[in-house]
């Protein structure tokens, strides 16, 4: 998509399955086959046992806002032209926290505990960015 001014992820082999999931509009959460731990952000090893036997499970993409901030002043690329915007930690129903934006609503309506679901913005032919929006 031309004109996407915000930062894009620098995808590596380690993270490619996650971003391929986003391209399919699936939010994947890793689970360790060795110890059973779930984790986000995704990485090449389990953060609990450091083994590399991980599987990628589709999340239902639903959760609640753990915390948020409405940003009124920033130098962040692409965002300084879209003030105010919402940065948030969302806790997925699967139990892991995701740093993200909350979109599709008035920033003044955002609250801790608000139920949200994932939504994807297709920003290039290869890249879709996951964000969250209130469950209506």
């Amino acid at each position: 998509m031309a004109g996407y001014a915000k930062p894009l992820p620098e995808i590596t082999d380690e993270s490619r399955p996650f971003w391929e999931g986003c391209r399919r509009h699936e939010f994947l959460v890793q689970r360790c086959r060795a110890c059973g731990a779930r984790q986000h952000y995704p990485r090449g090893v389990c953060a609990a046992c450091w083994r590399d036997d991980l599987e990628w499970l589709p999340s239902a993409g639903r959760g609640r806002i753990y915390s948020f901030t409405v940003t009124h002043r920033t130098q962040a690329r692409g965002f300084r032209d879209e003030l105010p915007y919402v940065l948030a930690w969302v806790e997925l129903d699967e139990g892991v926290q995701v740093l993200t934006n909350v979109v599709g609503c008035d920033p003044a309506a955002v609250r801790v505990g608000l139920a949200v679901r994932v939504t994807f913005e297709d920003v290039t032919p290869e890249i879709s960015i996951p964000r969250f929006t209130p469950v209506s």
Binding site: K6, P7, L8, P9, E10, I11, T12, E14, S15, A37, R38, Q39, H40, Y41, P42, R43, A47, A48, Y66, S67, F68, T69, V70, T71, H72, R73, T74, Q75, A76, R77, G78, F79, Y85, L87, A88, W89, G95, V96, Q97, V98, L99, T100, N101, V112, G113, I129, R131
Partner: protein
């Protein structure tokens, strides 16, 4: 047990300077050695952060023409220089050096660096999951303030008390950047930067720097002034924890109990505290985690003048990062001011009967990953 003494300190007084990062450090080092009664030839251990300038301490070691037998470039954000004191003490106790020099210099203000609101990209793997979302340092602390308000009913007016206390102290510091008193209402009416943090909840941006000299206890009698004793110290890192983190618990919850235990003192023994104040919320959470009050009670604790001179726990008597100076990594100033207070050199802002002081540095961002370093310091 005392493994090390802080023998000399110096804070570079300018808030906007024509000097270079290297000149700031060299002039500060000379002044700190004068303060200690020592000379450059006595220095055999050297500590600074990466990027100050260069990839590590090499640029400064070269510029200062030093010949250290111990060198340390620990870089863990604004707390780094607090951690350097801890590392210097360990190096001295281990026989690696006897006179450790720690320096810092920055020209953030004259270079136009937007310390708090610039895009926070680290060049690390994790950027691809974080930098996409418009993160800045202030935003990553605002997340903690919002959650604290949700869980404990903390208010913006309570956070503002911290800024008011620092500003009052800055009024007693001739070189502080902002010295005119402010009120809680002034803070609440200042522009919202990243909710719930207003402009006056945020540290200032200045140039600056300083130096510390930490020495072996054997050198006590050779020093120009009664040295300050390092009674206890600790470091920790708190992070995203694979997606399962209680973000209201900072690294100070780990370092506080360890540092107090090592020093054999309790929070009740502390006459004054230097608490890293990148933002007001940084101070509130740190005070809770160090054990000065219970978790969740910070909002009530910081009111009523408790943190001001004359109160039960004066903090940031130099005016702090909120009003005096913040060139990007403030830890060294925490140590400098605590040492001045313990020596009775505080002048108009002296805390009476100051025998034990606490220093806590925070580096990085509460909202993702940060370091904490605590020192308990005692008067001679």
């Amino acid at each position: 047990m005392t493994h090390a003494l802080i023998a000399g300190v110096h804070e570079f007084p300018e808030r906007k300077t024509a000097r270079s990062v290297l000149e700031i450090q060299a002039l500060s080092a000379r002044a700190a050695l004068d303060d200690a009664g020592l000379e450059p030839k006595d220095v055999d251990g050297y500590f600074t952060v990466a990027g100050n300038p260069g990839v590590g301490p090499l640029a400064t070691v070269d510029y200062l023409n030093l010949t250290p037998r111990h060198v340390d470039g620990t870089t863990i954000g604004g707390s780094s220089f607090v951690a350097h004191v801890n590392h210097a003490a360990a190096a001295i106790a281990g026989g690696r050096c006897r006179v450790a020099l720690i320096t810092y210099g920055s020209t953030s203000r004259s270079s136009g660096v937007a310390v708090g609101t610039r895009e926070r990209i680290s060049g690390e793997y994790v950027d691809q999951f974080e930098a996409l979302y418009g993160i800045s340092t202030v935003g990553l602390y605002a997340l903690i303030a919002q959650r604290h308000m949700h869980e404990y009913g903390t208010t913006g007016a309570q956070l503002a008390e911290i800024a008011v206390a620092c500003r009052r102290h800055a009024g007693l510091n001739p070189v502080a950047l902002y010295r005119d008193p402010i009120t809680v209402d002034d803070v609440l009416r200042s522009p919202m930067i990243s909710s719930p943090l207003h402009l006056l909840d945020c540290c200032v941006i200045t140039d600056g720097g300083g130096a510390l000299v930490v020495v072996h206890p054997d050198l006590a009698r050779d020093l120009r002034k009664p040295p300050v004793r390092l009674l206890g110290s600790a470091e920790a890192v708190a992070h995203t924890a694979a997606g399962r983190r209680d973000y209201l618990v900072s690294a100070a919850a780990q370092t506080g109990p360890r540092a107090f235990a090592a020093a054999g003192v309790s929070p009740a023994d502390v006459a004054m505290a230097m608490i890293y104040d990148s933002f007001t919320i940084t101070v509130l959470v740190t005070l809770e985690d160090l054990g000065f009050c219970k978790k969740g009670e910070g909002g009530a604790f910081v009111g009523g003048g408790r943190l001001q001179l004359g109160g039960a726990l004066p903090i940031n008597t130099d005016g702090g990062g909120l009003s005096s100076n913040h060139p990007g990594m403030r830890g060294i100033f925490l140590v400098i001011e605590a040492v001045k207070q313990l020596r009775g050199e505080g002048g108009a802002r002296q805390v009476p009967d100051c025998r034990v002081a606490l220093v806590h540095g925070t580096g990085g961002a509460f909202g993702t990953r940060h370091s904490g370093a605590t020192l308990v310091l005692g008067a001679a």
